[in-house]
Structure formats: C-alpha cells, structure tokens
C-alpha cells in the first residue's frame, strides 16, 4: 500500500519525505475540516438538550 506510493514518488529521498509530509498534512486538514465533523453527526455521544426526540 505505502510501498508502491513511495516508489511512485519522484526525486531523491529527502524530496519524497517532504512530499509525504505535505500529503499527511493535507489528509489531517481534510479530516479536521470536513470528515470528522461529518462523522461526529452520526455519533450519539454528545447531546445536551432535553426533548422527546433525543435518545
């Protein structure tokens, strides 16, 4: 999975490491901004209202 990715990257080792770090940062941003907020809507862990509808 990560082996082919490493081999597909161009340039010397330091450049590949740099690209991978940038990719990892991009994944974190996408997760924090969009993916995790979306997931958390489906997790009934965090409710503070009273109401007939709430579990």
């Amino acid at each position: 999975m990560y082996g082919p990715l490493w081999r597909a990257l161009p340039g010397p080792t330091w450049l590949r490491v740099l690209i991978l770090l940038a990719l990892a940062a991009a994944v974190v941003v996408v997760c924090f901004q969009w993916f995790f907020p979306w997931v958390s809507d489906y997790m009934p862990l965090n409710q503070q209202t009273v109401g007939e509808g709430t579990p």
Partner: protein, 258 residues
C-alpha cells in the same frame, strides 16, 4: 516482517499472501492513526475552534460596554420590579451574553436562539430553547450547551452551588439569577424546561416565578443523561447603570476598567 519489507524490492519475489497480509496490516495501522486523529479533533481541536469562534461572536456584537464603576452610582440600584423582556429573536440570532463567575473571570459566552447541534451548539455555544421564556420573563429561560468539546460552555456546570450568581446580559439589561437547585434527569424529561419545571411537569400549573434553566450532558462524554441547573431571578438593572456587583466582586469588569 519489518526487516523483510525494509529491504524489499519490487522484484524481491514476495508471494501474494505476504503482499496481502502486508497491505491489510498497513490499512489497519492507517485506520488506527485516523481513529487517534479523530480523538485529537474531538477532544482538543473542537475546543480550540469553539473558544476562538465564540470569542469572535462576543466581539462582533460590539455592544456598548457598561459605564465604569467610577462613573455611576455605586453600588447600582438592584431592581426587583417587572424587568424589560425582549421578543424572541430569529433562529441563530445572538441575543445575550452569559457570565458565570463560578466558571472563571474570563468566562463570557454568547447565547443564540435555537438548540440545533450543528448550527448553534457546535459553533455559537449556548442555545436558547425556542418557545421558552426570554431573560427576565415569568416562566423558564432555558438554555443548552456542551459540557465537553466545541468550546464546552457548560463544562463546569456540576461545580455550581445554590446561591451562585448566573448573569445574563442583553444589549440593554443585566439579569442576575441565582442557582436554586441541580438535578440529573433522563434525556426525555422535557419537564425541566417547562414554564413551571417538574419531572414530569404539571401542564396546568401557572408560572409565577422568573426562572432560568441550564441543560448539558451527563456524565461527561456521554449522552446517557442530562445535568440540569435551575436558577431564579434575583434582580435586574439597566446596562447604563453599570455592572452587577456579583461580577465586580468576582473580578469581572466588562466596562474595561477605570
């Protein structure tokens, strides 16, 4: 296996089984890292964002600060006649600031209309249950907020004790409530936000007290129950008369000092 992989080359002749096992292993490590990141996001980042955004909301209100202590009658008159009551605003409108000295000297959070999780509680902070009383009114001014994550406005709700001041400011008026009781209820117990609260509430009861209710989750990091705090209005005063002594005594001076 790590050693083998480190020295592996595309042509090293790994069998399909070894490759599959390796790929599954990497996938599981990735999922583990993502789960860890989710926890970091939920327990840390939502607070960072929430605190920053909620402070921004307070700033953007740009309300006139109360006059400084030296410029007004001290102590200001505590009024116990009928207070002014604003009309219920539209969904998501920020209409009040909430001060709780017990929660710290820099504690001030915006209160907005509605208790939608994504659109109010996860962002603006404190939500006002639509249809319940407005600040100062006879009935029950009921609010909800997170106890953990997303800026956690009601994080220390369980620290409140009877008699603690709960101070609501609208643009023109201070309303000083005092804690009367706290209780733990089930999520379905809507009676706690009724005009005359009770579990269950008596629908025929006629409200004659000016109450406030805070609801949050209980236990922390769970949705199993709700922590509820009731308060009753002690007095009110116009913002133009200064700052309630409950705030000044606690070292909170919204006038900006001097």
């Amino acid at each position: 296996m790590t050693a083998t992989r480190t020295h592996a080359r595309p042509t090293s002749g790994q069998g399909p089984v070894a490759r599959t096992v390796g790929a599954v292993g990497e996938l599981m490590i990735t999922l583990g890292v993502l789960l860890g990141l989710f926890i970091v996001w939920q327990l840390w980042w939502t607070d960072v964002e929430g605190d920053r955004y909620q402070a921004e909301v307070i700033d953007e209100l740009a309300w006139e600060p109360p006059p400084a202590v030296a410029q007004v009658q001290n102590p200001p008159e505590e009024r116990r006649d009928d207070p002014p009551v604003m009309d219920e605003p539209g969904f998501q409108t920020v209409f009040a600031q909430y001060y709780v000295p017990r929660f710290g000297t820099d504690y001030v959070k915006p209160v907005a209309e509605g208790v939608d999780k994504a659109l109010v509680l996860d962002t603006i902070g404190i939500g006002h249950y639509p249809g319940t009383a407005m600040p100062g009114d006879v009935g029950n001014f009921a609010m909800a907020a997170h106890r953990t994550t997303f800026g956690k406005p009601f994080n220390q709700i369980a620290d409140l004790v009877e008699g603690d001041p709960l101070v609501v400011r609208t643009e023109e008026t201070w309303y000083v409530y005092r804690v009367t009781e706290d209780l733990i209820v089930n999520p379905q117990d809507v009676g706690v936000i009724a005009p005359v609260p009770g579990v269950p509430a008596d629908p025929a009861a006629v409200p004659d007290r000016r109450l406030l209710t805070m609801t949050s989750c209980h236990p922390m990091f769970s949705a199993a129950q709700r922590y509820v705090v009731h308060g009753e209005l002690d007095y009110w005063m116009p913002v133009s008369d200064g700052t309630p002594k409950e705030l000044l005594d606690a070292g909170i001076d919204p006038s900006g000092g001097s």
